[in-house]
Symmetry: none
Amino acid sequence: MLKEERHHQILDKIKLNRKVLSSDLSIELQVSEDTIRRDLNELSAKGFIKKVHGGALPIDAKAPSYEERKFSSLKEKNSIAKKAVSLIKDGQVIIMSGSTTNLQLAKIIPSDINATIYTYSLPIALQLTEHPSIEIIFIGGKLNKPAQVTVGLDVVSSISQLRADLCFMGTGGINVTNGMTEPNWEVSHIKKCMIEASEKVIVLCTSNKINEVKRYSVTPINRIDTIVTDLNSKNEIFYSFKEKGVTIL
Amino acid sequence: MLKEERHHQILDKIKLNRKVLSSDLSIELQVSEDTIRRDLNELSAKGFIKKVHGGALPIDAKAPSYEERKFSSLKEKNSIAKKAVSLIKDGQVIIMSGSTTNLQLAKIIPSDINATIYTYSLPIALQLTEHPSIEIIFIGGKLNKPAQVTVGLDVVSSISQLRADLCFMGTGGINVTNGMTEPNWEVSHIKKCMIEASEKVIVLCTSNKINEVKRYSVTPINRIDTIVTDLNSKNEIFYSFKEKGVTIL
DNA sequence: CATTTTTTTGCCGTTTTATGCATTTTTATG
DNA sequence: CATAAAAATGCATAAAACGGCAAAAAAATG
């Protein structure tokens, strides 16, 4: 039997039983326990399983949760949020994507602002329930657990029926030639719809996302009205963006 | 059994019972108390539980203040949740309404259960994101802030397209002649739809809701399959319910 | 096709880990 | 403060992991 075959069988078995023992596998797959151990180590190094003493388990409850990510580079995110909040005008209809920067923004929306906010992010919706006057519409669908946002066709079709003034979104990467890009196909699609539905597009991103390029394209740069980052808007990194007519905040 | 497995089981049990005894675990998991003690120490060192003399407690075991205890009756709700969780079978499609009792239930669903859960409650959805295998579908709509649930026509129309095996719901009041009743018209309507869409209806309620009658009718008593309360199922208060064919848990 | 090179695998001695047991110390409680 | 339960401590043992080595298999090379 080929090594790859074994690996697949091991993964299958873990999925099925939610655990495997090196000793069992050794017998089942007719190889020495050393080989099994090496297999498990490789699969574990690739992040497919969690190797433990005596066998392996599914990776499950290990991915750094939204909760944990929420607190990384909070300072930058907060400074972004502060700039972005100035763009909100009374009575607007706003779409917010689900990012920790957007969450930060949701926290600091002044209580005297009236607006309707559409979102598909649980934490953002929850945060907004504390605001006295904002009307919140949650876009339903299948939940993506690690990101705590809804995804799928329902979301796409809901958004495409909307018409919003503003759209605040986080991004996986942005540069002048490729525009906004995302690592996740589904998310990229949803973001396209959000942009489609919005008058103005405002991208919130920490500086490390600038000039990053991800797998899936969301929109060309000229469809973006404003980019809000933690950097000073006069930073030379933005020259080329400004030439394309993007406002930097 | 692998050490890690044991750790998971211990964590599950703490979540469920809000405490564990080393002696119990030793028997249940078929290892010596020394081993259990070592397990508890490790989990405690990682900050997952609080080790105490004789066993362990959840980390967030903040003593509920007098005020909280007086109104929230968390203990009752937990005992209800514990009974209710046994009704969930692998692979089922479940609708959950938004009540604190249901939230309690969401917290203690064992991690080896597979199910699809529809809900319109933000806290419940958020809680369920911590479960490794449950598929969550959030029912979108306009958010009712104080209750943190979605309401409105969107919710009604989404639910009416569903077909579920089980439906867990809280209630404003229940008695034999009027059936389930609600103080809020909109909620009563949504609950009607939920019942319409479900094979079995399970009502979770604390004993103070029994024989209460609210303004709006939801469903007659005979459409309810099971009532789960904090009382003993043999309590005479249930006689008339049983006559109508309702199971009491 | 012959022959290197690389990969895979099993084996073996050593080291580490998990666990139970016996003994002593600590803790809870009437 | 006496006593029983629980925890800590030290030790023994078996299972598992590790590291190096060499044979076998597979792939690459000329």
